[in-house]
Each structure stands twice: as C-alpha cells, then as structure tokens.
Amino acid sequence: MTSQLETAQHPERLRRVAIDPVSRVEGHGKVTILLDEHNKVHQVRLHIVEFRGFEKFIQGRPYWEVPVMVQRLCGICPVSHHLAASKAMDIIVGVKKLTPTAEKLRRLMHYGQMLQSHALHFFHLSSPDLLFGFDSDVTRRNIVGVAMAHPEIARQGVLLRKFGQEVIRITSGKRIHGTSAVPGGMNKSLSIAERDELLKDIYQIVAWSRDAVQLIKKVHIQDPGLYNSFGTFRSNYMSIVGHNGDLDFYHGKLRARDDNGQIIFDGVDYQHYDRYLEEEVKSWTYMKFPFISALGKEQGWYKVGPLARVQNCNQISTPFAEHERKEFVDYAGGAPMHAPLAYHWTRMIEMLHAAEEIKNLLHDDDLLGNDLMATPGERQWEGVGVIEAPRGTLFHHYRVDENDMVTMANLIVSTTNNNQAMNEAVRNVAHRYLHGREVTDGLLNHIEVAIRAFDPCLSCATHALGKMPLEVELVDPEGRQIDALRRA
C-alpha cells in the first residue's frame, strides 16, 4: 500500500504545481505536484502547513481547564475535543462511570455536533461538486450556487446544521465553545422547556436526514464508474465500536480491519492505544502519520471516519440508519468499499443515525435529571479519552502531576489518522486525471474533491464560499514561471 508517488527520484528537474490553500476544507493545507516536461506526475504530497502547539502549551495548566482550552483547536467540531478531553479527565478524577443523566447529556451534545458538522460538510462544502460536477463553472460551485439551483436542498442543509447547533447551545451553554462537560460529569442540566424546544423540530430533522441519504445514494449509484473508482485505494480502517459492535460515536473499544475486512485487532481498551498505534514524522508536513504498530509504517496506515465506522460496526441501533447501512453494504457487494466518494454516502447515514439518537434521547426521562456529577474515585496520574469525532477517531492522552498540573499531552486528531489515506487519494487522482495533461482549474478541483471527501479539519474556520484564493504556478525546470492560474 506504499505510494510510489510520495517522493520523486530527482525533484530538482521537475516543475512544481501547488494548490495553496486547498479550499472548502477546515483550515489550511496545500498540495504540491511535481511534473516533468511531458506533464507526467512524479510526486504528490498533501502538506499541512499550520502549527498549533496545543500539546505544548497545555502543559503546566490545571487539568480541569483542559476540556475548555483544547476545544479551541477548532470552531467546527470543538465538542469532540471538549468531550475527548473530559473523558480523559474523568479517568484522572477516578470516575469510571458517569451518572446516567450526565452521560446522556454528553451524548446529546455529541449527536448534535455530529449532525451539524456532517450537514455543514455535505451541503455547504461538498454538494456543489456533487450536484454540479467536479469541473463545473467555478463561479457557481459553492453553497450560494446550490441555493440558486436547488433552493430546497440548500435550505434543508442550513436548517439541519442550525438544529445541530441549537442542540449544542442547549447542552453546552454556547453554540461554539461551551463549558458544560467537566471532569466527572456535567455542569448543566436540561430543562423541560429546552427539551421541548428541540422536540418540536426533531421529527422534521429525521425526515430531512433521510432525504439527504436518498440524495447522495442516488448521486452515487447513478455514476458508479466515477463514484466507485475516483481516488480509490485499499487500506486498513479503524474506529471505536460500542456495545455488541454497534456504531457508537461516544464510547467503545478500538477495532481495526484490513483492506479485506478481516479483523486486525478488536475489543482494545483505548487506555492502551499506544500499544497498538504509533506515529511517524515526515519533514515536509506538520501532520504526523499514525500506523498500526504490528503492521509497521509501510503497511499499517489506515483510514477513519464515516466510511470506516459504518463498515467497521456490526450494526446501527436506530432503524432508519440501520436500513441504510444494510443497503450500503449490499451495494458494496459484501466486501469493504474503499472509494473515497463513498465517505459522503456513509456520512449521511451517520447524520441520520445522529438525528434518530437525538430523537430517542429527547424521549428519555434520564435526560431531565439533576444528578450530574459522579463521586470522584481514586486520583489517577494518566488518562486517555477517545471519541468518534465527525471526521474520525480522536485521541486525547494526558498525564497530570500531584499538584493537578498537566505534564504531558498527546492528541491524535481524526484528520491525522487519515493523513496517509488522503495522500493516497490525492496521488491516485493526480495520476489518473493530471498525468500527461495540461493543468486546468477544473482538473485541480478534482484533487480538492478527493481531499474534501475525507472532510479534513486542517484546523479551523476557513471557508469563503468557494472563493478561497487559489494560485497555481507552473515553473520550468530552471525555476522560471511559465504559466500561472489564479482563482480569486
């Protein structure tokens, strides 16, 4: 599974094309492509050019501050970091089991986030490519273009996201960067009025989520030649799975499968994740490359996120989403589906599951309880919190000293887990679409489409309705610029 296109033999004689920054993703990244004089592709890399430093500056801070501070990593899915850090700090304060109310409130918050993040990605960021075509007119390849051509789809996307944001606001105190999950429980209960506010809309949300699955399923099935093969590569895949192998975004055990779907490891307590996973550093990107230790860094990389989760679980506990999962598995023909564009389909199945779970929780009386904090147990010095964030498995690992200060932090975020996988997809697309051809804006968007399928969160908050400045320079082997293409 090692890509031949990661490092060219003689890069000094090749010209460089850069997509910088990649647009309609969270954060900043760039793609560089090295071509020879016949436009043949010799090297393709996805670089993450931001350095955040959270693992360092959280050191020396009190552990109870961590869940609030680290969520500032991101403005799109801060709830994931808030909850993963809180789960780690639950361990630190000796709490192995939350009160039923606290766990259900956290789950509600998390499902709200899953709903809003998946809706944002599908409708705002990716639907322009899927509805208009990858090399369609760039001026309408954005959410405004979708709103003009398909107003009802755009409206549902906006309102689905809004509902998810409201769930987060009500459970965490704010739409973005709330403070409600604390070590050992929650600081905020849910009032009857707040629950009823969500209840009045949830049935519509479930219905629209079902429609969204039908939409992407139709788009995918209509063009199997493209959707099953675009950027496709085979790889291992990993996620946590819940009780009885259920799809579970909040808690479970680690399970990894190989590219044929055979189990590599299963039932792994994530407190011991570092016995199973390692990270490799490469000089050309700030993002590390995790891999499964037992397989080594050449064979051990994997993908995470919706496509991994929906195929890794045994079943989904909610009926509509389970029905859709079975259809997806049937479509894949009983073997794992590896097509990056199938991420969209599975992402919508997950959004439907999140909507159904929110509906179930809103009918659960435990949610209205006031028993929010578990009794602290024996103080621990080390804790790991893992959660399935919208983009995949998220690890938070901390050590805390006897004075309550953090001494070590290790975060493996979802997109980091997908690093090698995204690079593979980009190389695959570059080789298939760019090899030997003149570079055009539409062809470059094919590269971005492949990256977007993974919904990478390169840090936080850079969307500009498809108008992200994108500049491509063609440089001859002597370094002279021979052509330039600018999207503004």
């Binding site: 020396g60 801070r61 501050e65 609030v68 500032r72 105190g173 403070t179 604390v182 600081n187 200060m405």
Partner: protein, 238 residues
C-alpha cells in the same frame, strides 16, 4: 442626610466622611473600579475610578465628598481613559479569557465589557509568569494579576497572616508569596481566609472547581457589572 453633591447632574446624598465611591455606590450609581472593595481601606492604585471634580481628576475611592461638589463620572472622556487603562492591564499580563475558569465571574473582563473594550489595542507583553500549584486546595495563576492588592490587604488586615505582598517597583511590580520558598504550600493559607475570597480576577483560585458554574448562571451572565451591588467579588466566588 441633608448634605448632597452632584454626580453626573444628579443630586446624591452623603454622610460625613464618605468617599465619592461610597456615596455613589449606596445611591446605586456605578463607578468602574478594580482595586476598591467596600470592606477594605481604599488603595487608589488602579485609577479606574478616576472622576472629574471641578475640572480636576481624582480617584473616587479616596476622595471625600463635600457639600455642593460637582462630580463627572460617566462621560466619554473618562470612559476612554478607563478603557485605555483596562487595555494596559490586559496586555501587561496573560489574560486568555476563552480558557479562563474565572470568565463570566471576572471583574476585569466585566469592566472591559462595560467600557466597550473591543481589542487590547496595545502590544502584548506576554510575560513569563510560572503558576504556583503547590498548595493542596489553591492555585495561583500570576499571569492574571492586576496588582489590585486586595489579597495583600485581606491577608494583612483581616486574616493577620501577611501571606501576600507586592514586590518590585514600577513596571516590575509583582505579587509574591511571603515564604522563604515563595510557594503557597509553605504558608498557612487556608480556605477560611478572607484573602481566599477577594481576588477580582482569576489569580487565587480554589482547585478542582474549574467550570462548575454553567454559562448563563455566572455572575456577569445575569447582569452587567454596572447593575450589580457590592460586594461583587464575594458573590462571584460563591
């Protein structure tokens, strides 16, 4: 109380010996302040309470009222100066409100909101100030100290322990712990101390409380600082 003075054009009654701050507060008029606390002798150091009396500036917390005095308080000119002082306090320390557990209960933050502070304006100093987490129940984050000296006065005048002091001169003034080691763990500081209750910002903090109070129920979520009655710091810590 037949004696009166004029504050922003309104006649305010006062008693002999009262300061402008005391009389104004009793009358429900807000004068921004950080180092003033009704239970302690005024310090007059933060200068947030600067008012204009007969055309001259004075600290409302130390100025005694006299009959017929005309005091300007809530004017754009004075508030602009207070805003600048507040901005300087923000850049002199390391005030990261987004992850600070005192956020929503912090008098500095609430005052900045009251004064319409939209940015720090000045260059940050980014000082290096290690925290003191040595005490079993308390945590001192020197990064947020605004040198109001309330903890110094509380420990010296009420607790009779003299645990805190301001050391250094001018821009190098800083809060210290009076122990040979400089560590709070090596003092007899305790939960019952007045000094444990008066910090208006997030310096002296009870350990393991963190974000126990949800957004919406924090002191300044409920009402702006200008609408709150004294003593603010004690309420904020409950």
């Amino acid at each position: 109380m037949t004696q009166k003075f004029t504050l922003d054009g309104v006649l305010i009654p006062f008693e002999d010996g009262e300061t402008v701050m005391q009389a104004a507060t009793r009358a429900g008029k807000f004068i921004p302040h950080l180092c003033y606390h009704p239970e302690f002798k005024p310090h007059g150091s933060c200068k947030l309470c600067t008012v204009k009396v007969n055309g001259r500036q004075a600290a409302a917390c130390t100025l005694h009222v006299s009959s017929g005095m005309v005091v300007e308080n809530n004017t754009e000119e004075l508030n602009a100066e207070r805003r600048a002082l507040t901005q300087m306090l923000f850049v002199e320390g390391n005030h990261f409100c987004p992850s600070c557990e005192k956020s929503g209960n912090c008098q500095l933050q609430a005052t900045a909101y009251h004064l319409g502070m939209m940015s720090p304006h000045y260059d940050h100093f980014f000082p290096s100030r290690p925290v003191d987490a040595s005490h079993a129940d308390f945590f001192i984050d020197f990064n947020r100290c605004i040198l109001c000296s309330l903890c110094v006065r509380a420990s010296r005048d009420v607790d009779k322990k003299n645990i805190f002091a301001l050391s250094g001169r001018g821009i190098k003034t800083h809060l210290i712990v009076n122990a040979a080691s400089g560590r709070l763990a090596d003092t007899d500081f305790s939960l019952a101390d007045k000094a444990a209750q008066v910090c208006p910002v997030g310096v002296i903090l009870h350990k393991r409380q963190g974000f126990a109070v949800p957004i919406g129920e924090r002191t300044y979520d409920k009402a702006a600082i200008s609408a709150q009655h004294e003593p603010i710091a004690e309420e904020a810590l409950k």
